[in-house]
């Protein structure tokens, strides 16, 4: 089922992959699938969209999972981690070796990697830590140091604690019940870890409330933060417009961008966390919104960024920064001072999310339907990694 007539050599592919193993990892499952085309193209932070339920399934929507690891064996394998807490994921958990699965991937923008050897802190909530280990490998290849801060409700829900301890320069674990590491949530420890590790860059993946708090703290310390968001998706490839969230572009304009193709990795401060689940009144195309750029000599061509619905990431990142090795989010290459100045300017103007904006009442922890039941800050067990784990 792989498609050969794809548009790009580096773009995603759709493959029918053979399951190698499905195994329990504490509270989660890890599944390894032979998918050469995907493994070859993979960069940390990207995800796969998996069809579940077999032929004639009544479950029409693909499930999106961050890729945990790729390996060269069998021509290339892909592994992802999930919690079997919905119909689709329970079906996945029951797959056996030699079953086949339809996967599309690798999808989405990967984590940008700094050019220089710097101190990186990787923050994971629940099995949101899954994509962080491949990232850690890549960071170490660039002679960055890697510290881990992982948290969950209980010890069996901290994915990869052992690997983090074995491979990280430091590894701090928090659990809400105190069964592993420090009792509490990751953001309780974030300041201390940043201080001790002299963190230059933060990467975070986990439940949205956690990402929001990590971003707030990172800003307090003036440290760039890259977050991989989870939003409910239907297709994973950019056509359904389900997974949108309000993101401020480098031009200062908020757009409802797709987390599947414009993300899932964003600069934390560009996401309007308080407005997720709403259409901010000043968002591009919101009711009553007026094009403010109808200034001198405006032609349609003057607004290359003006179309989040299709095409490249609409100003959610520094232009050209998608290419790995440029330090955009990390803000660590030659552009760093300027990038930070921009951040400060934005903060001063209050346009990146803290003041003067209506908060969404009573919607905390409800950015995606799968999470609603748990709510709360460090919901340890994201029911949906990017989407419906249901």
């Amino acid at each position: 089922m792989s498609s050969n007539e794809t548009d790009s050599e580096s773009g995603p592919v759709q493959v029918r992959g053979t399951v190698l193993t499905v195994r329990r990892v504490d509270a989660y499952h890890a599944i390894t699938i032979v998918a050469p085309g995907i493994a070859a193209r993979f960069r940390p932070g990207q995800f796969v969209a998996v069809a579940v339920g077999g032929p004639d399934t009544s479950m029409l929507l693909r499930r999106a999972f961050s890729i945990h690891d790729v390996r060269p064996d069998h021509g290339g394998t892909v592994e992802f981690v999930f919690a079997a807490n919905g119909r689709g994921t329970r079906w996945l958990a029951e797959c056996r070796a030699r079953d086949t699965l339809d996967l599309a991937g690798p999808l989405g923008r990967p984590f940008p990697v700094p050019r220089d050897p710097v101190s990186c802190l990787l923050v994971g909530g629940g099995y949101g830590s899954a994509p962080l280990f491949a990232l850690a490998d890549r960071l170490r290849e660039r002679r960055c140091t890697v510290d881990f801060l992982l948290g969950a409700a209980s010890g069996d829900r901290v994915f990869g604690a052992l690997t983090a301890r074995r491979t990280g320069r430091s590894a701090t674990i928090t659990t809400q019940d105190g069964s592993l590491g420090v009792r509490g949530i990751v953001t309780d420890m974030l300041g201390q870890v940043i201080h001790e590790a002299r963190t230059d860059v933060i990467y975070a993946c986990g439940p949205m409330p956690m990402l929001r708090q990590v971003t707030a703290l990172a800003r307090r310390y003036d440290i760039p933060v890259q977050v991989a968001v989870e939003e409910a998706m239907a297709c994973g490839v950019g056509v359904c417009m389900t997974c949108v969230l309000p993101v401020v572009g480098t031009d200062g304009i908020t757009r409802m961008v797709r987390s599947c193709v414009d993300g899932p990795v964003f600069r934390g401060e560009q996401v309007r966390w308080d407005d997720i689940g709403t259409i901010p009144f000043d968002a591009f195309g919101a009711p009553g919104w007026e094009p403010r750029t109808r200034r001198a000599g405006r032609g349609a061509a003057d607004e290359p960024d003006e179309a989040p619905a299709a095409g490249a990431a609409p100003g959610t990142h520094v232009p050209g920064a998608q290419a790995e090795g440029r330090a955009l989010g990390a803000g660590l290459d030659a552009r760093e001072p300027a990038a930070r100045a921009v951040d400060r300017g934005r903060r001063g103007a209050g346009s990146a999310g803290d003041n003067g904006r209506p908060r969404r009442g009573g919607r905390e922890g409800q950015a995606s339907p799968g999470r609603a039941a748990d709510g709360g800050q460090a919901r340890p067990d994201p029911a949906r990694r990017h989407g419906h784990g249901a």
Binding site: L61, I279, P308, A310
Partner: protein
């Protein structure tokens, strides 16, 4: 010999009857990573509006049994960006572009038709008068024959003669044939049947509606029988009006069902979310179904179920006649 899948969309001959359904393929670019967009009959774009639109808040989607609810709310970049970027891209790939348009007033539709007529390369216009994801149900033109014909008349008047205008109708009406007749009288060259059905889901754990917009459009195989019924009824009443059929088509067999009901083209929507290469797969499967039945030309099958039924009734009448005589 391979079956002849060609079909006509107004003046344009399509190599095959498989189209994308509006709103399920954006403007084709994303799908081109998985399929050759020039191979399928046409790309029907996501509905284009005059101004950019942010759409509805999230959550916008809920999976249901054999279906899904969406409440996207027509998010899109607006006609300027579409004409500047998306349409030229589609044409550069050799794809045929059926442009879906949506507006909140008759004038907006008319303006969109004018803009598209001025642009080169538009294969057809599909007038979306039936999107359920708008603030006011009163805005759903397809629920009222007078409002529907006002829009279609305005669009037809402003659209270049060589661009066919299709009206996309809602199944959420008492009498879809009445709406279909009104649209055809107003100048529609064809009809697109059907848009999503208005639905709703409630999360029994949170005890709240799942969708931020409360209601959404139901699509997927769950609605296919509704599509078959609507196509059947309209074909029965207006046998000469070309129909783009859509509603839960997942396989070539499903496409064939809609064709037998009266569709001469079939749009594939929700199936794309399940399988980004669905259009090409369904095209291949349809080809196989025709070959298996020894059918040489697709057009022979369009609406054939009506004739088969008439023939069966004829036989029945004949046998009754015989019985009466004996």
């Amino acid at each position: 010999m391979a079956p002849d899948l060609r079909t006509r969309l107004g003046l344009v001959e399509l190599p095959n009857p498989i189209l994308t359904a509006s709103g399920c393929a954006s403007s084709g670019r994303e799908l081109s990573q998985f399929i050759d967009v020039s191979k399928i009959g046409a790309i029907v774009t996501k509905s284009i509006m005059l101004a950019p639109r942010a759409g509805r808040p999230t959550p916008r989607m809920a999976e249901t049994s054999s279906g899904m609810l969406n409440s996207i709310g027509l998010q899109g970049p607006g006609i300027d960006a579409f004409l500047q970027r998306d349409l030229p891209w589609l044409l550069s790939r050799g794809a045929r572009a059926v442009v879906s348009i949506a507006g909140s007033t008759v004038d907006e539709y008319a303006e969109l038709a004018t803009r598209l007529s001025d642009a080169a390369g538009v294969t057809a216009i599909e007038v979306n008068i039936s999107c359920p994801n708008v603030e006011h149900r009163g805005q759903v033109f397809a629920c009222d024959p007078v409002a529907a014909s006002a829009v279609i008349e305005a669009v037809r008047a402003r659209t270049r003669h060589d661009i066919p205008v299709f009206a996309k109708l809602s199944p959420d009406v008492t009498d879809i044939v009445a709406i279909a007749r009104a649209c055809v009288s107003a100048g529609a060259d064809g009809l697109s049947l059907i848009n999503t059905l208005l639905g709703m889901a409630i999360d029994i754990d949170t005890m709240r509606p799942v969708l931020a917009g409360l209601t959404g459009g139901l699509s997927g195989p769950a609605i296919r029988p509704v599509a078959v019924r609507c196509i059947w009824q309209v074909r029965e009443a207006l046998p000469d009006v070309p129909i783009i059929g859509m509603g839960g088509v997942m396989t070539g067999r499903d496409a064939l069902e809609l064709i037998l009901a009266g569709a001469s083209m079939v749009s594939v929507g929700t199936a794309i979310f399940h399988d980004p290469s669905a259009c090409v797969r369904i095209m291949r499967e349809l080809d196989e179904e025709l070959a298996r039945r020894g059918v040489g030309r697709l057009t022979e099958l369009v609406g054939l179920a009506h004739e088969m039924r008439a023939a069966a009734r004829g036989r029945l009448a004949g046998s009754l006649e015989i019985r009466r005589r004996s």
